[in-house]
Amino acid sequence: MYMTAGKRRIKDIIAGRAMLVTTAFSTGLVFAIAMGLYLRARPLLASQPLFGLFFGETWLPSEGQFGLKPFIVGTVWVTAIAIIIALPLCLLTAVFLAEYAPQRVRSIVKPLIDLLAGIPSVVYGVWGILVVVPFIADRLGPFAVANLKSVPYLSTEYSAGFSVLAGGVVLAIMVFPVIISVSEEVLRAVPAEQREAALALGATKFETIRKVVIRKALPGLLAAVVLGVSRALGETMAVLMVAGNVPMAPKSVFDACYPLPALIANNYGEVMSIPMYDSALLGSALILLIFVLFFNIAARTVFGRMLREHIQ
């Protein structure tokens, strides 16, 4: 029995090493990305204070002014609108799928939602241009001009349709699958005994869901929303196609805006000609990455842990 299987053992060890290498590669990739972007952004970070970068109002690359505030504000607006639209719809849908829907309905609706996740973002953009933008330009915009003069964030003089609202609507639909699938999973993870305990006391299903299920599932639902936010932050093409891309901080949902990802995507072609431009764009990518990482890690560690302690 002494080492007769030498060849097989060596093969096992070599394969293990090779797999370790790919695992290290995959695991390290996210760090490599952050590091790579940081190194490329460093010239700009060295020449300008971070504060000026974040809160500078003017974006004039040819004059060396790289204020990212309009873009950061634009990103926040679009993401906020998207979450405001998506949140109630997604939670209600998740509750329906987890609590009310008969098995047959579930088995039809869930694949549909998965399909939604698979549609390319350019196609969302095309849909936005075909449907959402004209609707805002022809219906909602004029309505707001006529009736919402004094309402903050909703008043407008004129809207071409390419706006924060259009970006938000398209983005909302794009984050549906993320929020719904995670929330549904969380709701279904609430133990049946706890529901039954409430139902046995004579609570209606609605009361049970509101007072027991939702409460138990809250950290997980928060995690779902945070994941949705981080998804929305980084989405590029669809938003780029419908948000209008004017480098000014929007004042109303009918104003055009210019989110960070769109900035990167739109300008990369011309980076070589202007000094520091390339640094500024990779710096924007780094900022975006940091936001997204922050939300993602928060969702997966903090809320994830709260969730585990809560339910099990």
């Binding site: 029995m1 002494y2 080492m3 007769t4 299987a5 097989r8 053992r9």
Partner: protein
Amino acid sequence: MKAQIEVRNLSLAYRGNLALKDIGVDIPEKQVTAIIGPSGCGKSSLLRCLNRMIDLIPGTKVRGKVTLDGEDIYGSRVDVMDLRKRVGMICQKPVPLPMSIYENVAFGPRLYGVHGKALKHAVERSLRSAGLWEEVKDRLKEPAIRLSIGQQQRLCLARGLAVEPEVLLFDEPTSSLDPVSARHVEQQVAELKRDYTVVIVTHDLHQAKRVADHVMFLYLGELIENGTTTQVFESPQDYWTRMYVAGAGI
């Protein structure tokens, strides 16, 4: 009678708790040895120490010595893969591999470089000794999961036999089977002792009586009694053994 496996001062710790305490026993060659005892007494753990499947459970620590034909299987130069080839194991629930009936049995020999005609012969021989050949010889290409659960268990036996082991370990091989297939597998086990040393863990005392030549009674991780089947069942020496074989719940 020659002892093929000798267990000396074997202790097993699982996350700091002793699961087996200072076990010492000889397992005779070409005989059936049954390990009996109430559930949780360490029967399966002891069995898994004999082919080092216990290594796969994280947090376990083995002390003491187990020798197979005089060689310490926990020695530093031992090839565990080769050990497991020599000491085969059949588990509680039948676990057909995700492939055809033929490929299931051929899996082991293929690992050791057997192919062509020799492989075919090995498969047929193993299926015959597991008493399954007549039932499956015309459907060797079918997925193994299409077999009935009793047939699956005999397939797992055939798969274990195909690597030509010297010792066979059975971990409650009939507990998930219906009575008829259980009887079938049991008969097969009894016949195997002509060629193999067999160790069987069982919670079924009647089964132990029917198939075993020797019986070990384990209780709370300790070896309480050990002897021929007649000794242990007819004139048990220890109080706990007496209670257990009399059918009192301990």
